[in-house]
Symmetry: D2
Subunit: 313 residues, 4 copies
C-alpha cells in the first residue's frame, strides 16, 4: 500500500511544437511550466502541478513514468526494497514540481520514478475555478479531459513485469489476458480504487521498453463522443473507438498525437474496485478474439503500433 | 487504512411491500436473499451479495450501517481500538452474507457494523452477465444503478462524530461546511478514492441517530436524467434535482421511497481523491447560501426531512 | 408536400414468438393490437396507434411500408397521380388503426400504402403518462426508443426509385452516394424536417424488393450506448456500432432481431433540414471508402445482408 | 404552409463589446459579418449566413425577428395577405445575407421580417468542416450550440397574437396554457416539425413588444450540463435550469447575456410533431403550478424579467 497513484509521464516527441499545440489547443491541457526542452502540462482537475512532461527529442516514446508514494516513509520503504536489485537506478533531487526521487526500471526497461514531495497546483487569477474543490477552471477549449487516468506500456515478458510490480511496488492485478500457451498477453494493475492505474501489453516485436498509450479521464461517454468530433475537425488521426472495452469495461477513444504517441480518452462510468481482496479476472485467447464489448474487432495497429516505432515483420 | 469501503445499510420501512416494489421494479435492484422481516437487495455491480437490507418496521430510518475492513487483522484492530469505549456494542456472528461482526455506535447513536468475511455474489444462470468482470447482468429495468455509493446521516454534534470516525475508524475528511459560529454543519469523509463514503449533516431538531439518505451510483448524468423520467412516470416523489452539488461536485437526484426514506442517485464524473494528503475543503456559511453549483437554491426539506420523521418547530 | 411522414412498416418473421419477445421485452415496444398472424407494436411517443406491424411468415423482410398524407385531399391527389401507372395496385379499406388506403409499389417492387385517416393512440389507464403531451408512459423496460424514425430499403436501380419518389410522392433528396461510374449507390429522401424519412441502398445481388433496416429514434447518444449493453446482455447480435455515420451524421447501432431483420437505433442530435431549398449532398466513391465519421470501416455485411436473405457469390 | 422556418433575430445590447465577447468566446458563435453598429453571428450548423444580428443600442430587447418563406411565391402571398392590414409595415431591400423583405408587426408590436432570398454560408478555409453535410467546422470553443432553435416573446394579449400568426402566417398552435379566467398565458406555435418555432408568454406589466428569450439547440442534454459549467466558470448569470419543461418537454438552461437579454440552450431529444393534424395540448393553471417536469418550481424572474426591462409593481 505504499504507492498512492500514478503521478505523471514524460513523453518524447520529434515534432515538439506540433505536439504542444495538440495537447494545449485540441486536447485542452494547460501549460504549468517550461524547462529546457520540456513543457509541463496539466488537466484541469489534476491536483499536482502537472501530469504530462513533454520533451523534444529525436524519437517518440516514454522517457519515464512517475508514481507518488503515500508518505515519505513509504518512499523510503520502496527505495530500500529496490536497493541493490538489478532494477535500482538511484536517487535524484527531483524535477520541477516534485522533490527527492528514487529511480528504478522495470524488467522491460521502462524508467520509473517514485516521489512523495509534490507541488500542489495553484491557479493564476485568470484560471481560478468557481468551485473551490477544483484546482483550476474548466477550460472550455478542445476536449477538456478531467485528469490523468492511466498509462499502458508494451513489454516482452509480462509475467516478469507483473511480479516486479506486485513484489516491489505493491500493485494489485485486477484483470489479465492469458494465451492458450500460458503466456500473459495483457495485465492490468492498480494501487487505487480505479480498476487500473496502468496496463502492460505483450510486445510482439521483442523490442523492450516501448510505450503503448497515455490515458486521460473524461467525465462521461458523451464527452468522448464530443472529443471524437473535435479530433475529426482538427485532422487528428483516430485509430479506433469510441467503443467499450470488454476488459475493464472502459469506454475508449484512441488517437495519435502529432509526435506519433498514442493517446486515449476514457470513461469508466461508476466502476471501481472496492474489494480489498479482488480476485483477478482472467480472459482467455478465445474470449479475447471476440473483440471489444459490443463486438468491434480489435484493430490490427493496436497490436503493432508502439513508440518508439520499430519495423514489423 | 483499516476500513475498505461502505458495505451495506439496513433501512426500516413501515410499508414493506411498497418499499420492496419500489426498490426492485422502479429502482432496479435485485433480491439476493430474504430472512425474517427483511429482504436483501443489490445493484448489478455490487460485488458483495447485497448492499441494502430492507426491514419491515413500525417506523422508517436506518437500523445499521456496515463497513467492510481491509483484512481480518484490520477488523481485530478496529475492535481492539473500540473495546471499552462508550461506543462499543460488541461482537456478533454476522448476518446473511457476512461473518463475524464488531458492532459499535457513533457519538450520535447510529449503529455501525464492521466485518471482513463476506459472501461474493454468484449470479443464478438467468442473471449471469455477458462480461465476466461484472457480477450480474445489467437489468434493463427501472433506473439500473451500478453500485452502492455512500450514505448521509444526520447528527446533533458533527465535530464529535468527525473525531470519532477519524480516530477510531481512520476515515479522512475531504470537505466540510463550517458555520459563522464555528460549528460544523456538514462533513464528508472517505476511506477510499471516492471523495466521500459517507456524510453527516447537522440535525437541527436535536434528535440523535437520524438518517438523511442512501445513494447509489449511476454511470452517467444522462442515466440520472432518465431516472428522473422513470420516477416521474411511477409517481415517485422527487424532492430536488437533477442538479450539481457545489460541495463534492456530485450530480444528484433525490426522491423518497414509499417508506419515507430519502434515496439519492448520483454521478461524480471522473472526480476522485487520489492525493494521500488531501487538504479538506471548508465551505463557509455565505458560500453555502449561494445554493448548488449552478445556482439552484437548496430546498427547505433538505434541511428538515430525515427518518424517522420528527416534528419541526 | 402531400406526404406528412412515415407511418409504419409491416415486417415478416419466421420466428414470430421470438421476434415479439425481442420487440417487447428487449426493445421496449408496446403491443397495441393483434389480428390474425400479426401483432401491432408502438414506441412510447408514436402518436398513431402503432408503427410496426409484425407478421408471422415463412420468410423475413418487409411486406409493406405506409406513409400518412397531410390531408384527405392529399391522399386523393397522390392516388390520382399514380392511377394508371405501372406502380398502381389500388384502393383497400385499410387495416387496424387506419382507414382507406391507396396501395402502390416502387420501381423495385416494395409495396407502399398511403392513408390519411388514422387512429390516435389512447393509452389504457396503466400506461397513461405523467405529462399530457406524450401519448404513453415511458416504459423503463429494455431500450425504450421514442418513436419510429426511418427505414432503409435495398433496390437494384436507385435512380429509378429516386425519380419515382420525387415525382409521384414529392419526397426530396437530401444526400446520396454516387459511384465513379455514375450510378447512385445510396439515396436519402425526406418529406419532413428530419434529414431523411427513408433511404435506399443499391442491392448488389440483383434481387428486387428487399429490406435493409428499420430505425427507431432514441433521445440521446447515451441511450444508444445503454441499448448496446442491453443487447449484449440479452444475446442480441450486434452487427456494427455504436458509431456516427458520415452521411447524415446519424449516431447509430445495428442489430438483428431474431427473425433476421436488421434493426437500428439512432440519434440525430439537433440536426434538422430546415431549408426548403436544400441542395443535396453528394458523396463520392472515394469519400465513402473512408468509412464512417470517426473512421470505423463499413462492415462487409452492411453491403450484403438484407431480408429476405439471398445467396451471395 | 408558406413559412419555412425561423431565420434570425436582431437583439439590442447596451454593452456591445461584452455581448459580442459572450456570444463568441463563451457561447461559441462565429462572426459572419459586420455592418454599422451590428455584428452577425452564427452557430456551426446554421445553413444561412447568420442567425443572430447583435446591435449596439441604448437599451436591450429584440429589434426584429425574421422568418424565411418556402418560396418567392410564398413571400408574395404573405405580403398580399398582410397588405392593407394594421400589421403592414412594408417592403425593404433586405439586409446583409438576405434579399427583398416584407416587414410587418404582430398585434403586440414585435417587428417581423419575411424573406425568401438568402445567402448560404460559405466557410472560409480555416472553418471548413470535415463532413461536407455541415456548413462549418465544430468550434470546440465555449458551449458550441448547433443551430438557432426558437425564440420567446412577451405579449399583453396572447389570443390576439395567436390568431394573427395562425391567420396571416399559417403557424400552428401545438401547446398552450389557459388560466382559470380563460385567458391564454402561454402559446407555442410551429411552422416546422419542431414542436415550436416560437412561443409567447403573457406580459403582466402591460408593456407591449417585449422579448423573453432566444434559444439555440444543443445536440444532447449532456452538452447542456457542460454548458452550465462553462457559464459558471465565466461568471455568466444562470437564471434557472438545467431541468426539463413539462410544456414541450424541452430540456433547458437559461442565462442572461451581459446586455441583459435572456438566452436559452435547449434539447428536445427525439421529440418532433409529425402529425399534420396535431391537436393542441392545453395546460391548466393548476397543472402549471406544479412547476417543471421533475418538480422544479418556475422561478419568479421567469414571469417578470423581459427586455427591455420595465419596473414591476
Amino acid at each position: 500500500m505504499d504507492i498512492a497513484h500514478l503521478g505523471h509521464l514524460e513523453l518524447m516527441t520529434p515534432v515538439f511544437d506540433k505536439s504542444v499545440r495538440f495537447f494545449t489547443e485540441i486536447f485542452g491541457l494547460t501549460i504549468a511550466g517550461e524547462k529546457g526542452d520540456s513543457v509541463y502540462l496539466r488537466a484541469y482537475d489534476d491536483y499536482e502541478r502537472y501530469s504530462l512532461k513533454l520533451t523534444a527529442a529525436k524519437t517518440n516514446g516514454m522517457k519515464h513514468v512517475a508514481y507518488r508514494t503515500r508518505s515519505p516513509q513509504a518512499l523510503e520503504r520502496r527505495a530500500a526494497a529496490l536497493k541493490g536489485t538489478p532494477f535500482e537506478i538511484g536517487w535524484t533531487d527531483g524535477d520541477l514540481g516534485h522533490g527527492k526521487t528514487f529511480v528504478c526500471k522495470d524488467p522491460d526497461g521502462h524508467v520509473i520514478e517514485l516521489y512523495y514531495e509534490t507541488e500542489w497546483y495553484e491557479a493564476p487569477p485568470e484560471l481560478k475555478p468557481s468551485l473551490k474543490n477544483q484546482p483550476q477552471r474548466f477550460p472550455g477549449r478542445g476536449i477538456n479531459p478531467r485528469r490523468l487516468d492511466h498509462w499502458n506500456g508494451l513489454a516482452v515478458n509480462l509475467s516478469e513485469c507483473r511480479e516486479f510490480f506486485e513484489k516491489y511496488l505493491g500493485f494489485r492485478l485486477t484483470e489479465r489476458i492469458v494465451l492458450n500457451d500460458g503466456r500473459e498477453a495483457g495485465i492490468w494493475l492498480t494501487a487505487t480504487n480505479k480498476s487500473y492505474d496502468f496496463a502492460y501489453t505483450r510486445d510482439a516485436t521483442g523490442v523492450p521498453g516501448r510505450f503503448h498509450h497515455i490515458t486521460y479521464a473524461m467525465n462521461s461517454r458523451e464527452e468522448i463522443l464530443l472529443a471524437a468530433d473535435v479530433f475529426l475537425e482538427n485532422g487528428v488521426f483516430i485509430e479506433t473507438g469510441p467503443h467499450k472495452h470488454a476488459v475493464q469495461q472502459t469506454f475508449f477513444l484512441y488517437v495519435y498525437e502529432p509526435g506519433g504517441n498514442r493517446v486515449e480518452v476514457a470513461n469508466a462510468g461508476a466502476r471501481l474496485i472496492l474489494a480489498p481482496d479482488w480476485k483477478p479476472i482472467t480472459w482467455t485467447e478465445d474470449e479475447r478474439k471476440k473483440g471489444q464489448a459490443w463486438g468491434l474487432k480489435t484493430i490490427e495497429s493496436f497490436h503493432t503500433h508502439g513508440t518508439p516505432e520499430v519495423a514489423h515483420k
